[in-house]
Amino acid sequence: MTTVDRRGLGGRLGSTELVYLALLGVLVIGAVLVAVDGGNLFGTANLVDMLTRSSLLGFVALGQTFVILCGSLDLSVGYVMALCSLVGATTMAGDPAKVPLGIAAVLVVAAGIGLLNGLIVSVLKVNPFIATLGMGLIIKGYLDTNYKGPAGAVPSSFQQFGYSRIGFLPVSTAVMLIAVVLGILYLRRTRTGFHMFAVGGSQDVARLSGIRTGRVLVTAHVLCSVAAGVAGLLIAARFGTGSALVYGSGYDLDSIAAVVLGGTLLMGGRGGIAGTLAGVLILAVLDTVFNILQVDPFFKDVLRGVVIIAAVAIYARRQIDRRASRPRFGPDGNGGPPGPPRDPAPDEPVPAGRGADR
């Protein structure tokens, strides 16, 4: 047997491990900087701060991971969050008995939007970038027209979701971590989870293996929207009311950045939720450290931008190095055409423009 193995040394470290290594690095550097400043990054207050910050983005990025793994994208999550915070708060209307109803309403609304997103992308074949951007606009118009400000009220029992904590672990973060674990299990232990990697890796291979790619894509979008809906509930719990203005806070692009920072390929097919969690934590740690160090808010944006680019560049660099001189499966950098000859799906022209289009 000649060469079954051509795994180099560099390949031993998985990309998830690398992301956690990066997180560790950020933590160490952050801790040193904070210590120089006379503080303790791992003091309860700062720890709580970091964890709290990570919970909201954590939910959104968790959902975003599903769609990105499928090779899609969701730019409507911010609007879904805003809508869901309002739906939740107005349904609960301050009545503790209506909490379950509010949660149910949010899940239904979010799932419905995800379903629409998924169908527009998979059936109408609208590029996900445009489809979800359009969906975001649609929701924005609805919000602006119908909610002229915060509305609804969340009973204090439900506000616990946003405020109480167990030791230094905020409940919302705990719930987020549970969702992350469930998400990891979903991807690793269910068929649909498996198929998401396949759909993102190659729609054609997936289809030839008998996977109904459309359904998988729709499922991912539904999960993504539902996760954004839960984030909306968390918003409502923290605000005590629903707020439409949340959509302006940039959670859509932040969540994509967190997912990519977590080592998931923007073109789909590789990555996972564990990495996303690390990506979210990296952003949260940065925020906390910047906050402790009193970094100018605008300088924060600059640093964030640089860190995101630098991290992704490092991942990309590694992938290039690891790749042998002649890729069997096409480039996984940017915008490359799909690899070697692939067979078009049953009697369809070769799907054009799948690739860097997201």
């Binding site: 003091g43 309860t44 207050a45 700062n46 709580v48 701060d49 709290t52 910050r53 909201l56 301050g94 602006d144 909610y147 002229k148 400000g149 915060p150 509305a151 009220a153 969340v154 009973p155 204090s156 506000q159 616990q160 946003g162 405020y163 109480s164 904590r165 918003i235 923290r238 605000f239 005590g240 009311t241 707020s243 439409a244 203005l245 949340v246 302006g248 806070s249 940039g250 925020d287 906390t288 906050n291 009193q294 808010p297 924060k300």
Partner: protein, 378 residues
């Protein structure tokens, strides 16, 4: 836990029920109160409007008397020129107090207009435990209520300014008279200066922000009682290009006699739309932003600059020092809010002649040592 105590939702503060149940922004009692406060003579030094107060109900602060001098400030953002100007004023005020040894450490966190971020920021201050007072400039009224209450419960004196929250747990809530008064100043001016039947266009920044909604609610009230015709109300995001485009389109369809704006950002673009279309200047309600005031002077148009007193950024810092000393402060510290008219326009322009165009005439920092460079070369 950090959870707010069980309390009927909405708290019980004086700003409670700012928004009525059906989501409309008009609350008659508050509207009447603000309109009346405009004619009230404020107490305090006339040359220091940031220390003046209208109808104060002083409260005792002895329980907060202390030696600690760490001041923490949770800022909603510095994402618009009004906030930038104000924040510089605040920093300059802090500088003075630091020199005087009244403040040792001034910590700021900026939430970048993200309510959730601000809740975390406030919580971080509370958890850190070494703030001797927390100043909060909430990014949205309703949503920050629980976080502010949490801060109050920690025992640290809390000072809220600009926008309020639905709670009265803070030691003092500092604000100019308010949005209704602002909107009314502008609308009343238009009603007064325009012939009956004239057409007015309302330009607004974005929906859902309480201070802005109050301005529009008051204007609607006043326009409703007048003979003016409101052509429409448009959201512009404060973007000059969008404002100019919208006004141009309205002008293309017919005459516009008056412009009502809920904030002065981009007012010049609106005026330019008239110039470029070759139309007469409208009667205009802008803001005390210098670019507009300069344009007003250059063109000699009929206009007013309603003011949402920018000098209020000084007050919370001074209030904190007062509280540490155990001095009384009003539980609701209402600052004067007086529009700039033809009469005092040139005086304010003269005072601010070195200032950049996106600066606010009534910023109230002329006596601070950093003047004028801190605002000029920011």
């Amino acid at each position: 836990t950090d959870a707010p105590t069980d309390q009927p939702p909405g708290g019980g503060g004086e700003t409670e029920q700012e928004q009525s149940a059906d989501g409309e922004w008009f609350v008659k009692a508050e509207y009447d109160r603000q309109l009346a406060q405009r004619d009230e003579e404020p107490q305090g030094p006339a040359d220091q409007p940031w220390l003046q107060m209208i109808e104060p109900e002083l409260v005792d602060t002895a329980e907060y008397k202390q030696d600690g001098k760490t001041l923490c400030f949770s800022n909603a953002s510095v994402s618009n020129p009004w906030r930038v100007t104000g924040f510089i004023t605040m920093q300059q005020q802090v500088e003075v107090l630091k020199q005087a040894g009244e403040i040792s450490d001034f910590r700021v966190s900026d939430a970048g207009d993200d309510d959730n971020q601000q809740i975390s920021d406030i919580q971080a201050f509370v958890d850190a435990g070494d703030c001797n007072a927390i100043i909060i400039s909430p990014s949205t009224t309703a949503t920050l209520t629980p976080a502010v209450e949490t801060a109050c419960e920690s025992g640290v004196p809390v000072i809220v300014f600009d926008r309020g929250v639905n709670s009265d747990c803070m030691v003092t809530f500092i604000h100019p008279i308010g949005g209704y008064a602002y909107g009314a100043d502008a609308a009343e001016f238009l009603v007064e200066k325009l012939e009956p039947g004239s057409k007015v266009l309302a330009l607004r920044i974005l929906p859902g922000v309480d201070v802005l909604e109050h301005r529009w609610a008051a204007a609607q009230q006043i326009f409703g009682d007048s003979d003016l015709e409101v052509l429409g109300d448009e959201f512009t995001g404060g973007d000059g290009a969008k404002i100019k485009d919208i006004v141009t389109q309205y002008l293309q369809r017919g005459d516009v006699d008056g412009i009502w704006m809920d904030a002065g950002d981009g007012a010049v673009a609106a005026v330019e739309a008239f110039e470029d279309a070759g139309k007469d200047y409208p009667v205009m309600a802008g803001e005390d932003e210098l670019s507009f005031m300069r344009k007003w002077k250059d063109t000699g148009m009929t206009a007013i600059a309603p003011v949402y007193s920018n000098f209020q950024w000084r007050t919370p810092v001074l209030a904190a020092v007062k509280i540490w000393k155990g001095e009384q402060v009003p539980s609701e510290w209402v600052l004067p809010q007086e529009p700039i008219t033809d009469a005092d326009r040139d005086e304010f322009l003269e005072r601010n002649k070195d200032m950049p165009s996106l600066h606010y005439a009534k910023f109230g920092g002329e006596d601070l040592p950093g003047f004028p460079n801190a605002w000029k070369d920011r």
